[in-house]
Symmetry: C2
Subunit: 789 residues, 2 copies
């Protein structure tokens, strides 16, 4: 952003009569198109008297918030035209979808993306008919809405998306409209603090506009009914300066809002030019819900109340009086001034729109894939661990990922960030602090470490903020990773779901360019939580991602450092996926050399010959499979026990690093072919599968594979407490001893000595139990376990 | 609560020297026991010089927040002793577990519940050894902590639990300590507004204590670094009066905190006696993190910084200097004054504890099952729909549930509430408004409907608040239901998980009495969303609950009103389950008479003879099964098509209302026996199963059943948009036409005419496609479909 002169602020704040006329015309046009979408299936420009035949059979959509949204949009357009400011518009009250669709239409963007929605009467009719109709578009802002990076379905994320969008985007202004319904959600309330992490010199600016129109679906909102003084205090407490606009008078509201916007813009410019005495502005706009709509219907006040939330006149087809009211309402916008003879927006309306990419519906920031530049990826091989013999050395695998990310911070300093709820160090990713502080705009002290305004590692104790910021960062074309506790990833599971849905939908729209993938790293897993208890043990997010569509869902369970590096490299280069990576942060056994790891990750699953005893035979006695680090350790240990104690028993060991290789190719694009599947798992031999997550996930994934019933899955069965990783495997029947017993129980050929081995396993488990009863660490052979030399 | 005199407030606010001595002694004892839990495995009372042998092999736990938590606890105890006030203590910074465990121990409650943790030196040693040890207790407050209804694992819910606990609990004071780390989470920030819904005359009081000690794991917090004026504004903006206590000086802090607590208590009492000029109080306590711990270690300041978050002296076993520091630190509390010769707490310490149930660690409100009274349940049969012929009439099933709940509100006016994000009416549950308003303490206007301070229907646009309030209400022994959008139930999925974990753990503790179940109703389901789009379509929570342990997880999919009533009656009477009920709110076909519905729900799954054509034969040609309302309609329709067009084809129709009857009895207590399973599904006939949720769930549930591979499951495969319910079934391949084709494709015996029928199905789907392309409503035979007379 360039600096802004006091003159410009004054000009912006004092709209001329011509300005006012244009503002109002654009707003009227937008309101007209909004109402048309809700009501009309014919006669779109009211060029004949309105009749019941012109009305849609079902009236669906949301009028209440729409006039406020388009009022703001019109004024921001004026700001853009005066200043050339790049801006993006995020509509928190997302059920004002028709208003944003109308804006895209008036700006021409809608027609550019959807050529059948032409700029004429026929196009307008198609625009109306597709709204809230089968196979059409939803009543809320969605992926199909040009200019949007923010779905208006699930409420609460408008500010996190806005803050994420402006990080490292110094020239961008994000207009974030917060509805007073949305303002009641936890995620939204937790997101005002974004300004405590935004550096005005390096980042862009978010201008929140809190739109208090008093009502939700069926009642008032808390903030809508608080005294203005309390609302001011609340926002000042978050660190904002509050600019208020209240009323419903016209053109007075236009004048006052123009002044407010000018004032806010001046403050943002001052702040960005380094003036530390200025606080970030927020505008509180109090205007009636359903503004300019029918004030009273059937003797009951509608405008300004929750009754205007959806369809204020609901009986239009049956009730001639309602029909008359609708016609009068539509005509109050004087459509004849707004659309020319062909039905295209008139010059009066069009003049109000900025040009080209400055149109908010066309901003490339809202279609971030077009701005995305690949990361300058360091060669991940150089961070690898030198593994000469599998299972003989331990390392903290995520530490290597930290080193890789440190160098990405350096090589791509303008487009990569790590987001993590205050656990970067705890997750062994701390190498990033060698090159970047944590971002923090509040006061710092001499005791603080790696913290300050220039920091770009994002730590805030809020999964919602971390996740949402990364989404905003991704959707505007930049790369990152969200690292968090496995169990507490469920806090933001809904965001993972919604972002996945966004990506799934975007894949159907050719004009939406692919964006960097949403990368989620889960450490501190269910299997290893030390002092934490059962509440910290839950592999739930894995199951959530599994159920997303195959063109988006990716789940990786690297068992060691080299596989993690290979997986991470792939994820950082990928586009438009949800990549879930699950790996423990504690010292863990290393298995594969870098070359082996790369080959293993490329296949996604493979036989570990060195661990098994099947010597490449087609049909071993049993297949021991695993996915996940701790359970892989137990699987390798079980194979080792079997090798030592039942040397004639043929055991194949299979490891799965890319979980999505398990389903059939028709169920997931990564699904391995039938031939590959048979090569790994045979068609008939029983498979004892030790899995990181809930066992049902494997049953679900291998459904339809040959004789899927032969998969005996062990996994997390909701047994947990404060204990050692080994005890966790015992409680969940996934320990080496359980796996050995499972192998023996399920093998078709019962080898000599099998019964003795089962007894020995049971005695080992009994011995373990004694250790637990006495609150001791693990028994030595487990604690110090490694593959013998 | 009785009124409180100015004298009492003055007495409370002016502690005598004896008061101060006792406060301090109790606090010292608690701190001593806290540190002991973290460090010591021997020599618990330092009766010999401390050596490395006495130190635990791994040092785990959280010191930082603990002294603040016990400081507050000591002062509340003094308040209770002076006033007889019933109080419950919720520790938001839950990793201060050892402090709360120590409090329970000092009050004798711990020993009452865990008799091996005796009140002597041996008991103290066992208390220390079990902490953060394998098979012991976690380092955070947990289900095992007496006096807790609030797990200290996942952060953010301390205020919602507190507000839920005091609803309809007029005599209860909930002390809710909010950590400044937790204060960064969205759910916590969204929960301050609880006071906008608490009626001081009918409900109890929450006293939030915001503990600003500046640090999280590895850095400062936002609120910890804000100017006090900003923090005040923030809390005043939420509607509180702010009382501040700052410092680390002793006994000054004791005096000032006693004054603050007295002031807060006086305000609460005034408010409860009807004084509307008084605002609810909040105390902001600024004390150092790790207060009274080592100030400096190895030349680096620890006390008052994030460095004291966990274990401030980490090298005690290896570093003699650290060992010395630890000994000095422990001795600074003068344990010889605090424990008598046997090791029991001394009289000085014990005198500070209230008696019996007034001890916060023993309050029955924190073990709500002991206070639970069954609901006076109206006979649910009387709300039933008179169904004479299945599938011939439509009704909004949830409307009947609304009527049932209306009468529960009347019959059990002190112990039942409905919680819903502003959609009670939209969910057709509005009958409750005949007897109760919505709760709202903010300003109301003449245009408001069913809203005001006496309301007990809880509407707030926050799933986190709704869910958390109900949890607090349940755990203190009262009943309720949380109704929400199916897709947005994922917003609070983490709470569902955590509450489920709480119940799973509580089942192992004989002293924890069973509490009313957490009842969740999901309406506005994936299959029927009208104007909403893909973001509103997701059956994710169902999958989340499925993976909980069998002693807690319950999932019901009633297909019509009478089954819904029977299920709801069961859920409202049940204890300590998570009951998930999924049913659409729109007019839907009704199938079963009340008697049939009751029998069907008792079995959980059954054959619908009237819908099929197998005439009780052992092995039909195909089994068409379903679970969920829309897919059941499609299944019955498919059976009807087959009946009409392939009359010799033997079709069995099975409906599953209790999903947990599907797994084997060893996997879930509701799992039907092998015999029953075979009676319904045979052992060999292919089953086409139409499911409400993700298909994988059924594969997971029927694993291990005879030839489970024969289950061909159709369900939600993440295909959605704004469209009709029928089109949703087409997109997800669950339509009647798909099911007919599936039946034909999978039947072992291919009946004459089958090929023609398949062609007809395909032509029907092609015809449907045309309707969608033209944005029309459904084709008439689908829209008006009902079983022929």
């Amino acid at each position: 952003m360039t600096t802004v002169s006091a003159d410009l602020v004054r000009t912006l704040g004092e709209p001329s009569q011509e300005d006012l006329d244009r503002l109002d015309a654009w707003w009227r046009a937008n309101n007209y198109l909004t109402i048309g979408q809700i009501y009309l299936k014919a006669n779109p420009l009211l060029r004949e008297p309105l009749s019941a035949d012109h009305i849609k059979p079902r009236l669906l959509g949301h009028w209440g918030t729409s006039p406020g949204l388009s009022f703001i949009y019109a004024h921001v357009n004026r700001l853009i035209k005066h200043t050339g400011q790049e801006a993006i518009y995020l509509a928190g009250p997302g059920h004002g979808g028709p208003a944003l669709v109308a804006a895209g239409y008036l700006e021409g963007t809608y027609t550019e993306h959807f050529p059948n929605i032409t700029q004429d009467e026929g196009g307008i009719l198609r625009l109306f008919r597709q709204f809230s109709s089968p196979g059409g578009i939803p009543s809320h802002v969605s992926v199909t809405t040009p200019g949007s990076i923010h779905e208006g379905g699930e409420l609460g994320y408008v500010l996190v998306h806005a803050f994420g969008a402006v990080m490292d985007n110094p020239d961008l202004l994000a207009i974030a409209v917060v509805g007073d319904g949305e303002a009641e959600t936890g995620p939204l309330e937790g997101s005002w603090k974004g300004i405590s992490f935004i550096n005005p010199e390096r980042d862009g600016a978010v201008l929140p506009i809190l739109h208090l129109n008093d009502g939700k679906i069926s009642g008032p909102t808390v903030l809508g009914r608080k005294e203005p003084e309390q609302v001011r205090q609340l926002l000042q407490g978050h660190g904002y300066q509050v600019i208020e606009v209240t009323g419903d008078d016209l053109p007075g509201m236009h004048v006052r809002f123009a002044q407010a916007l000018a004032e806010a813009y001046g403050a943002i410019k001052a702040k960005k030019s380094g003036d530390k005495s200025v606080a970030w502005p927020v505008i509180v706009l109090r205007s009636p819900k359903g503004w300019t709509g029918p004030h009273e219907v059937d003797g009951i006040v509608v405008e300004g109340t929750w009754r205007s939330h959806q369809v204020p006149l609901s009986g239009v087809r049956e009730n001639p009086e309602h029909l008359k009211l609708l016609e009068k309402w539509l005509k109050s916008y004087r459509p004849e001034e707004l659309f020319d003879a062909t039905g295209a927006p008139s010059a009066l309306v069009k003049d109000q729109s900025p040009e080209g990419n400055l149109r908010m519906s066309a901003t490339p920031h809202a279609n971030g894939g077009v701005l995305t530049r690949d990361l300058d990826m360091p060669d991940f091989r150089k961070y690898g661990i030198d593994v000469t013999k599998p299972g003989t050395q331990r390392a903290e695998s995520t530490r290597k990922l930290g080193e890789l990310m440190r160098d990405i911070y350096t090589s791509s300093p303008d487009r990569f960030r790590l987001f993590c709820p205050d656990e970067t160090n705890s997750n062994r990713l701390g190498a990033v602090f060698e090159v970047s502080d944590r971002a923090f705009m509040e006061r710092t002290t001499a005791d603080d470490v790696k913290l300050g305004p220039n920091g770009r590692v994002m730590e805030v104790l809020s999964e919602h903020n971390c996740h949402g910021w990364l989404e905003g960062y991704n959707l505007t074309g930049r790369h990152g990773l969200f690292a968090t506790y496995e169990a507490f990833a469920m806090v933001s599971a809904s965001q993972t779901v919604q972002h996945g849905k966004w990506l799934q939908e975007a894949a159907h729209l050719p004009w939406r360019a692919k964006v960097p993938s949403l990368n989620i790293l889960l450490t501190s897993t269910a299997w290893r939580n030390d002092h934490n208890g059962f509440s910290h043990q839950g592999p739930g997010l894995l199951q959530v991602v599994l159920n997303q569509r195959g063109n988006v869902a990716r789940v990786y369970l690297p068992p060691d450092a080299n596989t993690l590096l290979s997986v991470a490299d792939h994820c950082f280069r990928s586009r438009s996926y949800v990549n879930l990576i699950v790996i423990d942060k504690q010292p863990q056994l290393q298995y594969l050399s870098m070359d082996e790891a790369i080959a293993h990750c490329e296949r996604g699953a493979g036989i570990w010959d060195w661990a098994g005893t099947d010597d490449g035979e087609t049909d071993p006695d049993i297949v021991l499979a695993s996915a996940g680090d701790v359970v892989t350790m137990e699987t390798v240990a079980a194979a080792q026990i079997l090798k030592e104690r039942l040397p004639n028993f043929k055991v194949r060991v299979v490891n799965v690093v890319n979980l999505m290789t398990l389903p059939r190719p028709k169920d997931h694009p990564h699904g391995m072919s039938d031939v590959q599947f048979t090569e790994l798992f045979t068609d008939t031999v029983d498979v004892v599968f030790a899995f990181h997550g809930y066992p049902g996930a494997i049953h679900q994934l291998v459904h339809g594979r040959p004789d899927a019933d032969r998969f005996r899955v062990r996994g997390f069965i909701e047994q947990g407490t404060t204990t050692t990783p080994f005890d966790m495997t015992v409680r969940n029947k996934t320990s080496r001893y359980h796996l050995v017993m499972d192998a023996i129980n399920n093998a078709k050929r019962l080898p000599r000595g099998a019964a003795d081995l089962k007894s020995w396993c049971e005695s080992q488990l009994a011995r373990h139990e004694q250790f637990v009863v006495e609150n001791l660490e693990d028994m030595p052979e487990v604690r110090d376990w490694a593959l013998p030399a």
